[in-house]
């Protein structure tokens, strides 16, 4: 990384992309967990359909991948 022009230089290396993707996935997991808690509070947490709800959320979030 060049430190000569910190105002405009690319700061993250290509190898940081894996880590950034991991950060996003960590956030996604927290979101999934919180979303299920909200579903419980709202009385909409049918356990039998939990997998379907989470599958749908993952599909929406990861859509750019596919």
């Amino acid at each position: 990384m060049s430190l000569k022009d910190l105002a405009t230089a690319q700061l993250l290396e290509d190898s940081d992309i894996d880590q950034m993707a991991r950060v996003m996935a960590n956030m996604l997991e927290e979101l999934v967990s919180l979303s299920e808690r909200v579903a419980v509070l709202e009385g909409a947490a049918d356990e039998n359909s939990m997998q379907e709800r989470i599958d749908a959320m993952i599909e929406r979030v990861l859509e750019p991948f596919a």
Binding site: S35, M50, D55, E59, F65, A66
Partner: protein, 358 residues
């Protein structure tokens, strides 16, 4: 004082953990049912604009340039790491209870024979198979992490290892007197064997002492009298012609080919004449893209010998080991229907049932 909780209840998912486990499954579904078909589309498009590949190397050069290849590999690796990280955290929260629960008790069923100075194969010590950091053999936490992780793959469907019950159900044999489960781990198959053949002497052998301790506790809680022994399947600590049936599920592909040959020779030695060895494994599909991706998947999840195993002629290995007959057939437990693997857009892992008679 006896611990009040069973090991099964300690390792059960807490309500707050279930969404995290189900997210792992959701990501795996996305990986196999969305990303893989995308990769196949890209592959077929690339084939349309080039000569048909004639070698594995040519297929590889096409696949490595596909836009979705890196994403497919990243997600594969990420799901695997996330699985073990999540489960390791869950086990850490339970560690005191697990340690207390695995203490030997006077009413434990069966026997447990551990080596005081176990020598492990070099590959076993060096490789964190499946990316589980530290492996399954160093401490009780490693065994517990493995046991919880093994249930993630089929949550709600294989929580009680029903796949292994189906395996035992499909063993076509007269009730055997002596059964040995090779590389039994914490006993997924061993439990099923004892349930199917309650009057038989059933023993499980594995390198991992923590897994054996865990297996014995689980067996005792389920009223299953099973004998557990620490040992290397390349050097079985049994007399010649000791067992009627030997089983091993999803083991051989974890071994270098030389170790497979040694293990099969030992299996033939300890079987009685007419005795049967049954091994459950995953073969190659026989289609270039699927087989190459399977190879990459094995690399990613740290199963370095898997591809060599899949390309080897196991029936030949069995015959060379001293068996009189050897055969293989496709096996279809729940979820897998005959022919589903022929649709190339399905990411299906086929099962292969190897059977050899001494």
């Amino acid at each position: 004082m006896q611990p009040s909780q069973s090991i099964s209840s300690i390792l059960d998912w807490q309500e707050s953990e279930v969404p995290r486990v189900r997210m792992l499954l959701a990501m795996r579904k996305f990986w196999s049912s969305k990303l893989y078909p995308r990769l196949r589309d890209e592959y077929e498009e690339a084939l349309d604009s080039s000569e048909a590949p004639t070698s594995a190397e040519e297929v590889q050069s096409i696949v490595e340039d596909l836009p979705s290849m890196g994403k497919w590999a990243w997600l594969d690796r990420h799901i695997q790491d996330r699985l073990w990280e999540n489960v390791a955290r869950m086990v850490e929260e339970r560690s005191d209870r697990i340690t207390a629960c695995l203490e030997p008790r006077s009413d434990d069923l069966g026997s447990l024979t551990l080596e005081t100075d176990m020598t492990y194969p070099k590959y076993y010590e060096e490789i964190d198979f499946h990316r589980q950091k530290g492996g399954i053999w160093r401490d009780d936490a490693g065994a517990a992490i493995y046991a919880m992780g093994a249930r993630v793959i089929h949550i709600g469907k294989n929580d009680t290892f029903g796949l292994h019950d189906i395996f035992a159900r499909d063993l076509e044999t007269d009730p055997p007197a002596h059964i040995l489960d090779l590389a039994c781990g914490f006993g997924k198959t061993t439990f099923s064997l004892k349930k199917k053949f309650p009057d038989a002497y059933v023993e499980g052998i594995d390198l991992s002492a923590p897994c054996l301790r865990l297996g014995r506790r689980m067996a005792t809680e389920n009223g299953l009298e099973i004998n557990w022994r620490q040992g290397d399947i390349e050097k079985l600590p049994y007399d010649d012609a000791s067992f009627d049936i030997l089983t091993t599920t999803m083991t051989l592909h974890e071994l270098p080919l030389e170790s497979i040959a040694n293990s099969l020779s030992e299996a033939a030695r300890v079987l009685k004449p007419g005795g049967v060895l049954v091994a459950l494994e995953n073969p190659l599909v026989g289609e270039p893209l699927r087989d190459l991706l399977t190879h990459y998947h094995s690399q990613i999840i740290l199963e370095p010998f898997h591809f060599d195993f899949r390309r080897a002629d196991m029936e030949k290995y069995l015959m060379s080991a001293g068996f009189g007959e050897a055969s293989s057939k496709a096996w279809f437990p729940f979820g897998n229907k005959p022919g589903i693997e022929k649709d190339l857009r399905n990411w299906v892992t086929p099962w292969c049932w190897y059977e050899a008679i001494k």
